[in-house]
Amino acid sequence: MEFALSEEQCLLQDSVRRFLEQNSPLDKVRLAAGNTHTVQRSLWAGASELGIPGMLIPEDFGGMGLGFLDAAIVYEMFGRYVAPLPFLGTAVMAPLALMLAGSEAQQEKWLPKIAAGEIIAGVAVTESIGVREDAGVKAGKGTLTGKVLFVIDWAEADLYIVADSDHGLHLVLPGAKGLSRRALDTIDKTRSVGELVFDQVSAEPLPRSSADAVARVIDAGRVMLAADTLGAGQMMIEKSVAYAGERKQFGRVIGSFQAVKHLCAEMAAALEPSRSLVWYAAHALDEVPGDARLMACHAKSHLSEVGRFVARTATEVHGGMGFTDLLGLHYWFKRIGFDRQLLGGPELVRLEAAHLQGWAA
């Protein structure tokens, strides 16, 4: 038993940290946030050199064949640097959908391109979590009709993985006839989502689709969002501690006041145990299938709450500066807020967890 990251995993996380520190500083993030629906190609090319888009994809298809814990510690770094990159859909959820439900031909066609960082893959599954009003997608004979909001990695996608309302997964090309696409600005300008509206759009089903496959894609997405919040929260704590050590009032740094010191300590006390939860949830996706879904729910809902507490408290420590655009702390604040709502807010996810455990009707 060794509840720890391996040496390789530490090296992987360090290399991603160094890459993002150098290539995605706040001024770059700010520029990217002005063009949310444009893929940051040179940054994505850099990530591709590190093998990130193909990290979960088997080596046979040109990927690294790593696991979800590896992906989680990488996405944690993305959260730490609020990296404006299409990781969640393209590098995690879409490849997983193809690996679980795609035919060999579909895998051979698409996985190597994803692994090489050549294409962006959007993922449209939100209607499988909470159907709203008139939304949802119905599959006909080789076609899809309906609409889906909050499509992950929507911008410049070269293909979309779409879940219909009967747990079917489909491949849709962005140029398909009858498909309309609408960008959606959200609070988080570092990640692109949008709406897809289908009017008899021809789609290619993934032949091994199942309710379980859709659920596993969502589980993986939820663990990644938890990891993203973990990284973003950690950075907010570090920024708070640094600010509290610089900002002076009443002739001393504000970090010397217990009122401020304790705010920082409470953040650390809340976030650090969450790290272990995220690790285990990611590990369960790889190795403990019986625990995976429940742990994904727990990680998602708990990190949502802890993330919100940290985001808020860090903003409080920064005083007025915390809610200025100028300082940019809000990129982390909003990233955490977006992580909370995407793929199910904590209230909904907790309800799911209760159902999984037979605690709710």
């Binding site: 709203r132 609070i187 809610f323 200025t324 604040f333 807020g337």
Partner: protein, 399 residues
């Protein structure tokens, strides 16, 4: 203790309702409901109507154009206004500098400023915080040097809400560099059109422009614009802060938000199709907040009664500020939760009230996240809640 309403009180309530139904512009109330900022012109007209009726300055003494109402009448009025979604009038003149002017100003100053505050013709902003002086306000460094009949003002203010729309600013300035910090401050009224004043926007977490930096470079301010005595400004500043903190508690606004949330939860569906109103965990939290708010509401009434009896609110306003802002933040959190997915979209045009198309998601969801985000400021402005706790520890508990 007497909480029965008399016939006169009932009649008064009916009169208030009648006035609101006749005068409150419908679009202003609707905007207020979704949380979008009210359009300035409509706000001005609403203030004019209130002013004509003599109801614009609820808490001012009658001799200066206030209502002279009993605390209970004020309470009834505030309740009805909140229930009707009437927008809050800009507090900088009516709740902040106005009371300072009629309490500490001279006759000339009262004559010059009070009427235009009441009518809404002149808009004010607050020049208190500086980059190095937030919680430690008394360390402020914007200095005013006497030169004949004028002060020459140099320095910088920050976090100045709506300075870009204001006609006048009330400012704390340092007039004695050698005295103890609190004893070298004066309170000046400055016309924003005076040469040497520059306003720069601060874009805040909600992506919008409410806040500013205000720079003063050799700004000439007549000595007659000083309130009260030179170097006694801290006294007036603290008087104002007490009013500001009581106002920040925002009890009527929170009551309105609760009523609004109660409507939302009937419409909003959960993942399994049930109404959010049937979700006990959510409703329990809503009820907990409501209880806190009710406590605040009656505390407000007590404070008003104390003031009527000539005992000023003082440090208890710090308690109101802490609990009031916590209630606001908890409510904004619940609104985000109620909106769920639809808390994500950022719909700038809808927030500004200039959209032509229907919003993504229900109308009530449009502003929930911006309100939640900008609402983080509530525990910081008007003296951070950490500072308020210090005030309570020292001034209330004697620690």
């Amino acid at each position: 203790m007497d909480i029965e309403l008399t016939k006169e009180d009932d009649a008064f309530r009916a009169e208030v309702r009648r006035f609101i139904s006749e005068k409150l512009p419908r679009e202003l109330a609707e905007r207020e409901t979704v949380g979008a900022s009210g359009e300035r012109g409509a706000l001005r007209r609403w203030q004019k109507d209130l002013h004509e009726k003599g109801w614009v300055a609820v808490n001012w003494p009658r001799q200066y154009g206030g209502t002279g109402w009993t605390p209970l009448q004020k309470h009834i009025f505030n309740e009805e206004m909140a229930a009707a979604n009437a927008p809050r009038l800009s507090p900088f003149g009516l709740s902040m500098v106005g009371p300072v002017i009629y309490t500490f100003g001279n006759e000339e100053q009262k004559k010059q400023h009070l009427p235009s505050i009441l009518s809404g013709d002149v808009w004010w902003c607050q020049g208190y915080s500086e980059p190095g002086s937030g919680s430690d306000l008394a360390s402020l460094r914007t200095r005013a040097v006497r030169q004949g009949d004028h002060y020459i003002v140099n320095g910088q203010k920050i976090w100045t809400s709506y300075a870009h729309e204001a006609d006048w600013i009330f400012c704390l300035v340092r007039t004695d560099e050698t005295a103890k910090p609190q004893e070298g401050i004066s309170f000046l009224l400055i016309d924003m059109k005076t040469p040497g004043i520059e306003v720069k926007p601060i874009i805040s977490i909600d992506g919008l422009h409410h806040l500013n930096e205000v720079f003063f470079t050799d700004v000439k301010v007549p000595v007659t614009n000083r309130i009260g005595d030179e170097n006694k400004g801290w006294t007036y500043a603290k008087f104002l802060l007490v009013n500001e903190r009581t106002g920040i508690a925002g009890v009527p606004e929170s009551k309105r938000k609760i009523a609004h949330l109660r409507k939302i939860v009937k419409q909003e569906r959960l993942g399994d199709g049930a109404a959010l109103a049937d979700e006990p965990a959510f409703m329990t939290r809503l009820s907990e907040i409501e209880v806190k708010l009710t406590g605040l509401e009656y505390t407000n009434l007590r404070i008003v009664a104390e003031e009527v009896a000539g005992r000023p609110a003082g440090p208890s306003s710090s308690t109101l500020k802490i609990v009031g802002t916590e209630v606001q933040q908890a409510l904004s959190e619940l609104a985000v939760e109620a909106a769920a997915f639809y808390a994500m979209p950022f719909q700038r045009e809808h927030l500004m009230g200039i959209a032509n198309e229907a919003p993504v998601g229900p109308a009530y969801a449009v502003s929930v996240t911006s309100a939640y985000n900008f609402g983080r400021a509530a525990s910081i402005y008007g003296g951070s809640n950490e500072i308020q706790r210090n005030v309570i520890a020292k001034a209330v508990l004697g620690l």
